[in-house]
């Protein structure tokens, strides 16, 4: 779960990382009031959970109430990468001398946390990594050994920093590592970490992504993770316990694994367009697939449904019962094609057939998608380009 900047800044502040004065607002009127207290100039930042927010116009500077009025008006009536702006953070505009980068993540290949620093912070940090690798330094932390402050000091020396910056910066690295550990963060990032004209280091932005699998055991208060999903269909998916991503095609998809779901999207995408990605994981029941059908049918103008499931851990015969119960109760008229193989496959096929589902018994998804294509044809949406996510999956 990705936290909003304002939530992450609060956590950073509680853990002794210097952050700017700021307040969360949801109207232009409140923004003016807060700026009056903080003092101009201020920065107003849209609180939306998308990357590249600054480049998309979500961060504005205002030197006086007129400028802030205009900026706030625009933000609250606009969308940033398809996300409506409901809240914004009004921040003190600090006097920046230099911008750095500090980030932590988990390196999946080495199986270790990694801390990354750079003398070039800001929105183009990934570009810097490609073009000037000497400006980046990274250090891996041994899981069995843990983090020690000398690692931060040697990391910063690799960048050739002057000593008077090394001490405060290594303290911030220690604090951020502490936060990342306590919140089981997959990403903890300060970009930029800035040096002010008075020499103080300050985090003027904050990214914190918490491991979804650890949410139940984190002992610190966290916001609700379902509430923050903007797309109502994706929110419903989370509520019923499946991964649903809304797409702009017209073929509904249910799959019993993420890899199979992605491959199904790739194959459908060759001739048609998926309306969604839906992955059940290993918890299929009749009720779950009934609710999955209900969810994918919420999209208007669906032309066909493709069900691709394997019975390894999943009782697919139970799933089939849920699908046909939905179809009978709601009088579904669009073609439904199912490829279902594995444990109790024959029983599953019989159940599907009793509900007028077109059953494919061969393993290749391509053949099943061909069956669907013969039933529904290319459709209007197919040539409109490739599917795009309307919102983040997680």
């Amino acid at each position: 779960m990705r936290l909003h900047e304002y939530e992450a800044l609060d956590i950073f502040e509680q853990n002794h990382i210097p952050v700017p004065r700021r307040e969360l607002v949801s109207t232009m009127h409140d923004a003016l009031h807060v700026a009056g207290e903080i003092g101009y100039p201020v920065i107003i930042k849209a609180q939306v959970l998308v990357g590249g927010r600054g480049l998309a116009g979500g961060i504005r500077t205002a030197s006086n109430p007129d400028e802030l009025k205009e900026a706030a008006d625009e933000l609250f009536t606009s969308e940033i990468k398809g996300m409506p702006v409901r809240k914004a953070l009004v921040c003190q505009k600090v006097d920046i001398v230099k911008e750095f980068y500090l980030g932590m993540t988990v390196d999946g290949y080495s199986g270790k946390p990694v801390i990354v620093v750079s003398t070039e912070g800001g929105v183009l940090i990934e570009e810097t990594a490609r073009t000037s690798p000497e400006k980046i330094a990274a250090i891996h932390i041994e899981p069995s050994f843990g983090y020690y402050p000398y690692q931060a000091r040697s990391l910063l020396r690799m960048l050739g920093l002057e000593q008077k910056l090394i001490t405060p910066w290594s303290e911030i690295i220690g604090q951020l590592y502490h936060i990342a550990t306590r919140y089981e963060a997959l990403i903890a990032e300060i970009n930029p970490l800035v040096v002010l004209s008075n020499g103080v280091l300050m985090a003027v932005d904050a990214v914190l992504e918490v491991d979804d699998s650890a949410l139940s055991r984190i002992r610190f208060p966290l916001p609700d993770r379902v509430d923050r999903i903007e797309n109502p269909l994706e929110r419903r998916g989370r509520e019923i316990g499946v991964t649903y991503v809304d797409l702009d095609g017209d073929i509904g998809l249910i799959s019993s694994g993420a890899g199979l779901g992605m491959a199904s999207m790739d194959i459908i995408g060759q001739k048609m367009k998926p309306a969604n990605f839906l992955e059940t994981g290993g918890g299929i029941t009749a009720d779950l697939l009934y609710r999955c059908m209900e969810l994918i049918m919420m999209k208007p103008d669906l032309r066909g449904i493709f069900i691709n499931v394997y019975g390894g851990i999943n009782p697919i015969h139970e799933g089939a019962k849920g699908v046909i119960r939905y179809m009978q109760e709601h009088n579904v008229k669009i073609p439904v094609v199912a490829k279902a193989l594995g444990n109790r496959q024959e029983e599953t096929w019989e159940i599907f057939k009793s509900g007028e589902v077109h059953v494919v018994t061969e393993a290749a998804t391509e053949k099943a998608v061909d069956v669907l294509y013969k039933l529904v044809g290319p459709g209007k949406k197919t040539d409109a380009g490739r599917p795009k996510a309307s919102a983040k999956g997680k």
Partner: protein
């Protein structure tokens, strides 16, 4: 004949008394796997599917001579049970459960490597040796004995590829699910090395997906050390970009684990890149695999 599992593999099932654990024990036994015991703390002395249940892994090892374990333990208890299993001397562990916190996986991985234990997962369907046995949840009907090795990040896609090959009269030597999580207990290259050294495997299929850098790193191993033909499919060409690990991940990796980046790395290593799963049949035919 196979990698990881062979005639002397004696399997215990951890979490055997649970709903999924007992159902999967049934399927494993039916496939001919030597399941010699199960472990559920507090349920020792009972039997499930005719298999004796023990209170601890050490007791199970002492009583049954078990040397491999498959997990159906709830995610929150996996780390503890995993460390117990390593300390009891088990050398092959399959972690089927999903949603295990990454922090736990990092500790599990580091301890397994330190102790020389080969562990797969989390979120893996396990290992299946056609005609001999299986540890995990792979549905037996899709597999046939033969000489092609399969390694897959996705569980369901390992079934898909085995199924397509079996329908085309091409069998498999061993099918391995490496786990679908961002951090897994063994890297792809380690499993490729086992297939390279297996005299009963003629060629290997890698089923990867967008994200991470397993395939890119394995390409280096393939270029340097693999003599057997390798084909690869990468799922997720049209998938929405939602899994990006922030700037730090992209900086460390140099790329975001895109399908294109993986294709380029694999092609440069001499791997045959399959555009769609069904193309695996043509590849097997071209290489006269069976």
């Amino acid at each position: 004949m196979s990698i990881l599992m062979n005639d002397s593999t004696r399997v215990i099932v951890q979490g055997i008394t649970g709903r999924i654990g007992s159902a999967q024990t049934h399927w494993m036994l039916e496939y001919g796997t030597r399941v010699v015991g199960g472990v559920t703390p507090g349920k020792g002395g009972t039997t499930t599917e005719g298999v004796p249940v023990f209170n601890s892994v050490l007791e199970a090892v002492k009583q049954t001579g078990a040397n491999a374990s498959v997990f159906f333990v709830p995610a929150a208890f996996v780390l503890d049970a995993f460390l117990e299993t390593i300390d009891a001397g088990i050398k092959l562990i399959v972690i089927v459960p999903e949603h295990i916190p990454v922090k736990d996986v990092l500790r599990m991985r580091s301890y397994a490597i330190e102790k020389g234990v080969f562990a797969l997962g989390p979120t893996t369907p396990g290992i299946l040796v056609p005609g001999m046995g299986k540890m995990g949840i792979m549905p037996a009907s899709l597999f046939a004995p033969g000489r092609v090795g399969i390694i897959s990040r996705s569980g369901t896609l390992s079934y898909e590829f085995a199924g397509i090959l079996s329908e085309n009269k091409v069998g498999q030597s061993t099918v391995v699910g490496m786990g679908a999580d961002p951090v897994v207990l063994r890297n792809l290259a380690d499993i490729l090395e086992l297939f390279e050294n297996d005299k009963d495997t003629d060629a290997v299929i890698v089923v990867g997906e967008v994200g991470g850098e397993q395939e890119e790193k394995a390409a280096g191993f393939i270029a340097r050390q693999m003599t057997k033909p390798v084909a690869a499919y990468i799922a997720g060409r049209y998938s929405p970009q939602g899994k990006k690990m922030g700037h730090a991940g992209a900086i460390v990796r140099g790329s975001a684990g895109t399908v294109t980046g993986k294709h380029e790395a694999l092609k440069a290593a001499g791997v045959e890149v399959l555009e769609s799963p069904i193309d695996v049949a043509k590849w097997a035919k071209k290489n006269k695999l069976k």
